[in-house]
Amino acid sequence: MQFEGEHLLYGKIGHLLVIIATVCSLLSVISFFAASRKNDITERLSWLVFGRINFVIHSICLFSVFIIVFIICKNHYFEYMYAFKHASKELENKYLLACIWEGQEGSFLLWMMWHAVLGIFIISKTKKKLYQPAGILKASSSPDKNISISSNEWKAPVMTIIGLAQFFLCLMILGVYVKDVRLGNSLFSLTRNEIDAPIFSQPNYLSLIKDGQGLNVLLRNYWMVIHPPILFLGFASTIIPFAFAYAGLQTKKYGEWAKPALPWTLFSAAVLGVGIMMGGKWAYESLSFGGYWAWDPVENASLVPWLILIAGIHTMLIYNSTQRALRASYLFAILSFSFVLYSTFLTRTGILGDASVHSFTEAGIAINIMIGLMVALFSLSMLALFFIRYRKIPAIHSEESIQSREFWMFIGSVIFFLSAIFIIGITSIPVYNKTPLLKDLILQYHGGKMALPEDPEFLYNKVMVIAAFIIGILTAISQYFKYKDTPGKHLRKLIIPTIATILFFIAISITYPFLYDKKGAGFLLAIYMAFFASAYSIIANGYFILDTIKNKFKQAGGSIAHIGFALMIAGMLISSSNKIIISDSKVNGINLKMGIDPITKKQDNPSENLTLLREIPASMGEYNVTYMNDSSGNEKGRKFYKLLFENKKNKKETFVVMPDIYIMKDNNMSSNPDTRSYLTKDIFTYITYALDKNKNSGHTPTDTDTIPKKSIDSVLFESGKSDISENSKISLDNLIKSFNENNKTSITIEGYTDDTGEAEQNLILSKKRVIAVSDYLKSNGDSSLLISTDWYGENHPKYDNNSDANRTLNRRVELTISAIKNMTPSDAYDISEMKIGEKSFYNNGYFILNKVEINPSNDKYKFTSDDKALMADLSFVTKDSLRFNARPLIKADATDIININDTIFSQNLIIQFAGVTENKTVKIGIKEPSNFIDFIAVKSFIFPYINLVWLGLTIMAIGIIISMIRRFGFDNTTSAVILIAASLGIFYMFLLAG
């Protein structure tokens, strides 16, 4: 059958390119391997040239494939499964890249592209003078040839490994059938072949498919555009130390690889470290688990290779200075890439199942087997080769002195390595449950499949806090030792930083103590110890730079990286130990009754959500928080909730946060936090529950009607234009004058268009109009105006679009102005003064004050005799004889009076215990909003000093990069360019953007 409107040429070319790439990668492996085995120089060189040509063709093919996929997604060619699954028409252009690496196949492609880039760097770079081992040089004649041969020593075996990895990764996206088994999932498979639905028997099926699935909303974040490429560059670059280790074993020049491999290992550590923390920052900014690290399996799987890389860097340094620790260097170089592969296995085969929120779902058995094969082939065969050659790898058998730097560095490496093993050991629990023999053992002795304990984070934290302590101390002292042996008096230099640290630690412990006592005194002590060690590391390394390194800037890389690492750990300790949940009912003095934990016998109080009724301030820590209103976002289904925070003491501190809720097409919801950042703390808020008001109809304009409107103004526009006319400017100026008088004004600006032109264009036009008006108000009026915006395009026309006059009126921006000042709750309530047993009336019936309880203790509140709380017990009877009960409460503490209102949701009533008069009557406030009561539940945290985490990470990355530059031996200009670009980039990303 002939289908209409398909663009099949792209797919055909794309698929052909993938096949060429696969073949070329295989040819390059064969040639590079042959080159590494040949002793004859001309033969070796010809193999090498052939391998290089193949690798370059392979790389060009990969990049072309990427461009084709990009075109397919950008143009919404939904005949291709990949575009249908990951792209959609409403997707903004900036997320196009993110939608390519959302899928399995796309992320494999990204990974391969980085391998290709690194590979090309290696084959071209070593042409220049990188490293020249002695030996076969002399045999050749021309000097140019000399150099290329000398570096070829490493080039061939290193490229063999990279080529082999490329070949396997290509298979994953090959999409070729061998009998009935499909080898790899192609990026270019067709929707009609993949999905079995009746529609695909119609020639015009494409015109019926209106939109693709689109990018998962959690991933619509600028971090998702930049974070995967960086993380994958980190993953991809771990192959280089691995390949150098192979080169060492293969060429039997056992020790010489460590020098050229070291700068690459540093590169890998810097990029991977930044990539991991970008993931953390993304989680912090856009996921609602309330933090930057959750010990999620996918996070762990990327952390483990990094820990091993750090261990490897230190053993390579030891080897380069003392000829020791070579075998450990081999092991770590092999294991870091092996764990990258293992993490691929964990996250892509669906084996983690329920255990992780991030992991890919199962991609089919064939792919799983291929991934499994690749992991086994690379890791196991390299480990086997390593153990076979183990005895031949030179090692010094004498014992190192305790007073030597290498001794302490080696211990540090071991700690990093053991931490990695511990983390991966726990992360692999879902794997144990599926491993044949182990599975039976677990069932027999554990009584069911193994699962993480009640508090999985604590499981990791209690071990890692000890590791942090040891690492902190080691990074503080190690540099003061010299390699081989240190004269005793040299160590006296440590006295000053040690004393400084102790004084600093005492000062901090008194002024800003850690308050985390949930896990007992032992864990709190461990936190203090880890904090001490971090402070020690910062001070000792800082002093070392000032005292010993001085102006030899290039040598300070290690010390700077140590300072950054310690600062990051200190930031993590402070921000998580002293995190305050300000929406916690405990913090707000509402003692809701909770169960008693049968094991710990402690009061259990996980009530971290707080309900905010619209326009009614609630107390949250040191703030009064009011849920003002909601507004739609750019994307359909996204809703922002405006929360006004007002500091109770410092009236000047008021700010608005706008967390949002995004209901996706498939009805999944994502709640995206919003954060108010200060230099010393972040206030982090997200919505945990919201009413689903407009399930069917998108936006209904009456939504905002609950605000008592002061006035509505509108600005009209010319057809297709978004410029504000001179006349309109005059009326806007008048408007600005009017609200300068009552300084706190909230304006909702809503934009509309007529029905001429494309709906999509009109939506953009209405947005432009809104922005024009909003900018005008902001620049000509008070910049502290609370403006919320919304735009609807040609939806919700005010008049039917049936005449030019009506169309003119529909090309409008409406401004709804209300003064917040007039909305304090007492104004809005209808107050009745009552005695016990008395009756009072409201619009829809009457109510009786049954009793007033002092410090009530019941199913709703739990107060003790120390509190000052009064609860009114009221019965409401409606005109149609329905009965309801309400129990509002008033509570006084040292500084404040807090009203805890009750609500009869079905009757749309808010009931307040407003106070007690002098003659002992009770004041009950009733509010009957004309619209139904709108509310949200929120969680809100304060993270103190979280900026230390980002600052520490930035400094650490810069330190590692300085080290790398020094060991690559770049000239000064190149070094300066790399350093400045990387520093600015990282600093901007983590501390300024967002």
């Binding site: 699954k85 993949e194 999905i195 639905a197 529609i199 099926y205 019926l208 498919i209 209106k210 939109d211 699935q213 998962n216 329920d354 779902t361 199962e362 014992e399 190192e400 305790i402 001794f407 080696f410 071991v414 700690i415 053991l418 093993i421 511990f422 050991g425 629990i429 009584g447 069911g448 193994m450 699962a451 993480l452 304990p453 009640e454 499981l459 071990v463 009912s585 809701l592 909770m594 169960g595 049968p598 259990d604 996980p606 009530s607 971290e608 959500n609 309900t611 498939d666 009805n667 999944n668 919801m669 945990t688 529950y689 709703k860 009750d902 609500t903 949701f905 009561i933 509310f935 539940a937």
Partner: protein
């Protein structure tokens, strides 16, 4: 035996010892029936929402109280109390993973993971549904 070897061995021994002592704190996946036999022990339940019984959540009264009923494939059933906000789409979920403890008549839940029918794009049924939905509604 070098000092460094001793230190490494101590590290490894510590790790193994730590792992073994932690072993008992690890939780397990249970059925409702077997969880009832482990009163007060932290377990993971895989179950379904019982749609014939009410889901009780009134965030205006208390945003931190949700209760509902579950059944599992072996016919067990239980009431669940969750002191937190109601996960959206609880009613639509196909499968629930509940972490918590059985306490007398009810399951005191600490965390709920939802398996929604549409959560995974890669699921072919879901893709087919999406195609059908788009093409049936003109």
């Amino acid at each position: 035996m070098k000092k460094i070897h001793i230190i490494i061995l101590i590290g490894i021994a510590g790790l193994i010892a730590g792992f073994i002592t932690m072993l008992s704190s690890f939780s397990s996946y249970d059925t409702i029936a077997s969880a009832k036999n482990k009163q007060g022990k932290f377990v993971h339940l895989i179950a379904k929402l019982d749609k014939s019984k009410p889901v009780d959540y009134d965030p205006v009264k208390n945003p931190n109280y949700l209760s509902f009923f579950i059944t599992d494939s072996l016919g067990g059933n239980s009431k669940v109390v969750y002191h937190n906000s109601k996960p959206r789409d609880l009613e639509k979920s196909e499968r629930l993973v509940l972490k918590g403890k059985m306490q007398n008549d009810h399951f005191e839940c600490k965390e709920i993971l939802l398996k929604c029918p549409s959560k995974y794009k890669d699921d072919e049924n879901n893709l087919r549904k999406s195609v059908n939905e788009q093409t049936n509604t003109p």
